[in-house]
Symmetry: C2
Subunit: 239 residues, 2 copies
């Protein structure tokens, strides 16, 4: 195994996952992972470009950044790449009007989007809003479309909260895919387009960047397929 | 295409699906499908053996039969093959103690089963009980097992109620499969073992039986793989 110095040679920018790397979310705003506040501060002092690349789709970026800052992290909203803005760009480019199956917290991210007479469904980590009634409504919208379009903000299997492992959006995406006979389009990690937009915002090329995350598929696999290097931490959902 | 007489030559027994073939379930006990009450009566008068083979897992057989009788059908509980009793046999044979993610209506079917200290999860069409909290609890039980076992009562994509199409257990099964990285064991149609037990109860061989249903996978495909003939009706979920 090559030494760390060699493996990270030429790196100019770092993409950091948030949940499971910086903190575990949960009651009362969650809990930072030991050493992570200082690690972010050191990365920033080092001269490397740093950006936060998350699949968080249950909270608005404002709320997420507020929680992280209260925990001591040096992070601003402008430094965060998250699925909702990417989804809004995609919806507008393609003239799609979504039925939203999302958490109330993140609904405001879609304020500028026309949601009348839906011609697609957008699903995000809706948490407690994944009721049978809400799932059935999304299912019925899709079944009523001649050309059903399902857009999923990430496809994570689960994440870790301070109280334990929690189902993420991926399972619910699979449920709608199966029931409706469709394949979802994923906006967020591990979608290559999502990593590429994070790299543009970071201002470095793929070969100059390293992704640090706790998800072997979403973070590590996705980044590597884009030509980036990747490190998996042993915190968060790592088992 | 062969004439009906030829195609049904040698048939001695008929397995009838219930939902979408005899009736559409829904508010107030549902609605019979036109002609089906008389069709069951004629089949029974014809001397053919008749049995009802359903994936219904949201109601107890007693409740289901009560609803059908009120709609005018000649059917008794002893004539119905349904997943819960088959699941109970499987659990007892293998010493499995289930965590039940099922509708309250069907919980009584598992009264004789030890549910302490669960070592598997049984999922059925739980309807409104498919809350995020209940799904997450089932997920956490599975993730806590060294050798996770997920048993699904059917794997239907959806069914038709009088108010419209409704998500069936299959999607929720897929959600848990994906989140936990397991493959569910299906008890109910299209499982060959389930069809074979219905044939034993009917008292005829596979080549002497015809399955009549509205589900191309669960009813028609499953029966044909067991050597039976099958007919798909154009009612129920047929689109």
């Amino acid at each position: 195994m090559a030494a760390w110095g060699e493996r990270l040679a030429g790196v100019r920018g770092v993409l950091l996952d948030i949940s499971g790397v910086l903190y575990d979310s949960g009651e009362g705003g969650g809990r930072p992972i030991a050493g992570s506040v200082e690690a972010v501060a050191r990365l920033k002092r080092s001269g490397l470009r740093v950006r936060f690349c998350t699949n968080e789709s249950q909270k608005s970026r404002g709320r997420l950044v507020g929680e992280l800052r209260r925990l001591g992290f040096d992070v601003s909203e402008a430094e965060v790449t998250a699925p909702p803005p990417a989804a809004c760009r995609l919806l507008q480019e393609r003239g799609l009007r979504p039925h939203l199956l999302v958490h109330d917290e993140v609904r405001s991210e879609f304020d500028q989007i026309d949601t009348s007479n839906p011609n697609c469904v957008v699903i995000a980590d809706a948490g407690e809003h994944f009721s049978y009634r809400n799932m059935n409504r999304a299912f019925q919208v899709l079944m009523g479309l001649a050309d059903p379009v399902l857009i999923s903000l990430g496809k994570g299997r689960y994440y870790k909260e301070t109280s334990g492992l929690m189902l993420d959006v991926g399972g619910y995406m699979k449920a709608l895919e199966y029931a409706c006979g469709v394949e979802a389009e994923v906006v967020g990690k591990p979608s290559p387009e999502f990593f590429r937009s994070a790299l543009r915002e970071l201002g470095v090329e793929a070969h100059q960047a390293v992704m640090i995350g706790d998800d072997i598929v979403g973070d590590v696999g996705g980044a590597q397929r884009c030509g980036m290097r990747a490190l998996q931490v042993r915190t968060g959902k790592f088992r």
